[in-house]
């Protein structure tokens, strides 16, 4: 479209400052992409700290990562990849106007996200019980390296921040379910579903990097 159409009806979802739905959709999507860039840079700082310390103390990472349970990490990876699939299916349902499918897929995604968090909870509490606490509270003796606390500081910062992102994602998707039940979304307007999906993929991708970097060292 080269010029604002004068005849187009003002749709319910179309904000007054946009000329048409396309413009609104494109703007929202671009906004989300930029936000994802900032998220990557945000985590990038932590990845950098990880790399720096790994370069300085490669043996520390070998030793300390043995304390992490590769099996449960792998399970969580599968869980998150699965949830990325269901969120994509949710978007597809919205595009096809299948509101019921949208809601079901969102619920499955939320369920998988919760499974992830529960597994994470058990991983954390097992470590806390051993004395692998973050920062100055670290008291575990099982790793023969003076900087073991730093590895786990980085571990807790990375997985903790990632966990917070998962929680935010759960919140967003619950909100989407409510909106979907109110029949807000249809094939002509599903922007929030689309951009939440983008966000969720990023959360997934960050985990896909975290898993090998933290669990699979050796």
């Amino acid at each position: 479209m080269a010029q604002p159409s004068v005849t187009e009806e003002r749709l319910e979802h179309l904000k007054h400052y946009f000329i048409d739905s396309d413009q609104q959709f494109e703007a929202s999507k671009m906004g989300m992409w930029i936000f994802l860039v900032t998220e990557i840079l945000f985590f990038g700082g932590l990845f950098l700290a990880y790399i720096v310390y790994r370069t300085w103390y490669p043996e520390l990472y070998l030793l300390a990562s043995e304390e992490l349970h590769t099996f449960w990490g792998a399970v969580n990876t599968v869980v998150l990849i699965g949830s990325s699939l269901t969120v994509a299916m949710a978007i597809r349902s919205a595009q096809l106007n299948q509101i019921k499918g949208l809601i079901i897929n969102l619920w499955i995604t939320i369920g998988l996200a919760c499974v992830f968090m529960v597994i994470k909870y058990f991983e954390y509490s097992e470590k806390f019980a051993k004395g692998i606490l973050p920062g100055a509270h670290y008291s575990y003796e099982g790793i023969a390296h003076e900087k073991a606390n730093i590895f786990f500081s980085i571990y807790y910062m990375m997985t903790g921040l990632h966990g917070i992102h998962v929680l935010i994602g759960i919140g967003l998707m619950v909100w989407l379910v409510f909106k979907a039940k109110k029949k807000v979304f249809h094939s002509g307007y599903y922007t929030p579903v689309e951009i939440t999906g983008l966000y969720w993929h990023l959360v997934d991708i960050i985990w896909i990097f975290l898993f090998p970097l933290l669990y699979l060292i050796d």
Binding site: A2, Q3, P4, V6, Q23, A27, G31, T38
Partner: protein, 581 residues
């Protein structure tokens, strides 16, 4: 895509001339009433004004702190405050000026007001997010105030570890406040980028984008790319204090130099967050008051982007004495000099714009010329500091203090004042006293140089920064500098006086008091709630002073002009038709 590439060669658009309404009765300042309407507004202009009020407050607070510092430094030993208090005061002066005044000053305050107007848009792409950014800023500010009243912070605005991890006071609240503030900056940048990409009126191609928007665009890029790194750095620092995670604290096995790398990776680009939007304003002002096509449009536009880009690669020049390798120092020094080139290009372009212009030395132009002079000094002394061997001598002395004040205050703050005086009539629909404004500008210029020129000398002689006591030989410089600071405060008082007078009793401003060709001047002063009653169509560049004004006032009548929720579309349309010449 609706609006972007709607140039005439793609599709013919029927346009009519829309002369801006003069002295409108209804405008954005009075269309919605009451404090609640202000606090919940999503209008970019009002949000801009709320930022303006907030940054004015913080500028005042940090300015008072500066006066206290300068007064304390009148004598080599204690004058009236203790060392601990002094250390807190300089920390707060720096932190407030940078995080709460400079960074939001042009982008969030002036930028918010002017960006959609220059695009011919009704608002930014995400108005609610825009309002949220403002409140995030306020929450960050509250955390900072909380920190000040619960022990204060004495780390310097750089929060260097391990000192910041171990000192008393409430560093955690402060760093957390700045962490929150970062998100305000990120979201504003995000909003601006999307708005510039997606909300341009028909005909605003990339080569007709006002240079102010190129400046804001480059700034926004830095904001979204650098600020997240500051956020994670300050989060780590907060965790350092909360849990002792040890990444930056050598007592726990961490590395303080790593912190400096993290910090400057943000904070050097942040310098460009502060100065690049100033370049944009100066380009607008110089072209308008020379009434001449800007010289080297693309050179100015691209040099902003170049500065933004190179700005990411030079953070290490803050650390020449920090113990990084000689190779790193060499590379950072080399890259630092490269920043000088696009900066120089801008200065010469502005001068060339003035050449054979029709120059009117109104207040905004005066500030722009003051900017040119002071910023050039800031730039040259930056070259001095980029030279490795000389920087070893000058690093962390008053020379550095003087240098960044010439860049930040002589550059950015003067550009901000140029912009403020330039857009003031548009913001409030009122003119200010040209006489008093020029006087204030002159006093400010004198006071500024009195304050900071002596600091170059004492810095080169070895006076370190952040010193509560100093050796006697520097006293005469300090006294001179302090008197300069008092002179500046006189200028600020005059400015506060005539601007207040303008708000209350000022003469009403016409829509285009400067005869500018830029789009924001084709809206009424002050603009209506949704900026334009029509969709503006642009066929000329914003600096085409050789073309008649009538070619800059074109547009399409919009049937849905933003009042769909009021249900009075018909009325509005009629009104906009009446406005036609």
């Amino acid at each position: 895509m609706a609006t972007n590439e709607a140039t005439s060669n793609v599709k013919r658009i029927q346009v009519r001339r829309f002369k801006p309404e003069e002295y409108p009765e209804k405008h954005y300042l009075n269309e919605e009433k009451g404090i609640w309407a202000w606090m919940t507004t999503v209008d970019h202009k009002k949000i801009g004004l709320m930022y303006l009020a907030s940054i004015t407050f913080f500028f005042f607070v940090a300015g008072v702190l500066a006066i206290l510092l300068r007064t304390e430094l009148l004598t080599p030993a204690r004058s009236f405050m203790d060392a601990d208090v002094y250390n807190q005061v300089f920390t707060l002066h720096g932190a407030i000026m940078i995080f709460f005044f400079l960074i939001p000053s042009v982008p969030a305050a002036l930028g918010n007001f002017v960006l959609p107007l220059q695009l011919g848009a009704k608002d930014v792409a995400f108005p609610r997010l825009n309002l949220a950014s403002y409140y995030i800023y306020v929450i960050g500010a509250l955390f900072t105030l909380f920190a000040i009243f619960t022990g204060g912070v004495d780390t310097g605005w750089t929060f260097y570890t391990p000192y910041s991890a171990t000192t008393g006071g409430n560093v955690m609240a402060m760093t957390f406040g700045v962490f929150i503030l970062g998100f305000s900056s990120i979201l504003t940048g995000l909003n601006f980028i999307v708005t510039i990409h997606k909300m341009r009126s028909p005909g605003i191609t990339w080569n007709r984008l006002p240079l102010n928007l190129w400046g804001l665009y480059a700034t926004s890029l830095i904001q979204i790319l650098a600020t997240p790194v500051l956020a994670i750095t300050l989060l780590l620092l907060t965790m350092e204090r909360l849990l002792g995670i040890g990444i930056f604290d050598p007592a726990l096995g961490g590395d303080p130099v790593l912190y400096q790398h993290f910090f400057w990776f943000y904070s050097h680009p942040a310098v460009y967050i502060m100065i690049v939007p100033g370049f944009g304003i100066i380009s607008e002002v110089i072209s308008t008051f020379s009434r001449k096509v800007i010289f080297g449009y693309w050179a100015i536009a691209l040099s902003s982007l170049a500065i933004a880009f190179i700005g990411f690669l030079v953070w290490g020049h803050h650390m020449f004495t920090a113990g990084q390798s000689s190779l790193a120092n060499m590379v950072f020094s080399f890259l630092t000099f490269l920043v000088g080139i696009p900066t120089g290009i801008k200065i010469f372009n502005w001068l060339a714009t003035m050449y054979r212009g029709s120059i009117d030395l109104k207040t905004p132009m005066l500030y722009a010329l003051v900017f040119l002079f002071l910023f050039t000094i800031g730039g040259f002394t930056g070259i001095m500091l980029g030279a490795l061997s000389v920087d070893i001598h000058l690093h962390d002395t008053y020379y550095v203090v003087a240098h960044f004040h010439y860049v930040m205050m002589g550059g950015m703050v003067m550009a901000f004042f140029a912009g403020l005086h330039y857009w003031w009539p548009k913001m409030f629909g009122k003119m200010y006293s040209e006489f008093w404004a020029r006087i204030a500008c002159a006093i400010l210029f004198v006071g500024f140089n009195m304050t900071f020129l002596p600091q170059f000398v004492m810095g080169a002689q070895g006076m370190p920064r952040r010193y509560f006591n100093y050796i006697d030989q520097f006293q005469s410089f300090h006294v001179f500098s302090t008197i300069g600071a008092y002179v500046m405060s006189v200028a600020f008082l005059i400015m506060a006086g005539y601007l207040l007078h303008s708000l209350l009793k000022g003469k009403r401003a016409p829509s285009n008091p400067w005869g500018s060709r830029a789009l924001e001047w084709q809206a009424a002063s002050p603009p209506p709630l949704h900026n334009f009653h029509h969709v503006p169509v642009i066929i000329n560049g914003p600096y085409d002073y050789h073309k008649p004004m009538s070619e800059f006032q074109l547009g399409i009548a919009a049937s849905h002009n933003g009042h769909h929720h009021h249900g009075d579309e018909a009325v509005k349309v009629e009104k906009s038709e009446k406005e036609q010449a």
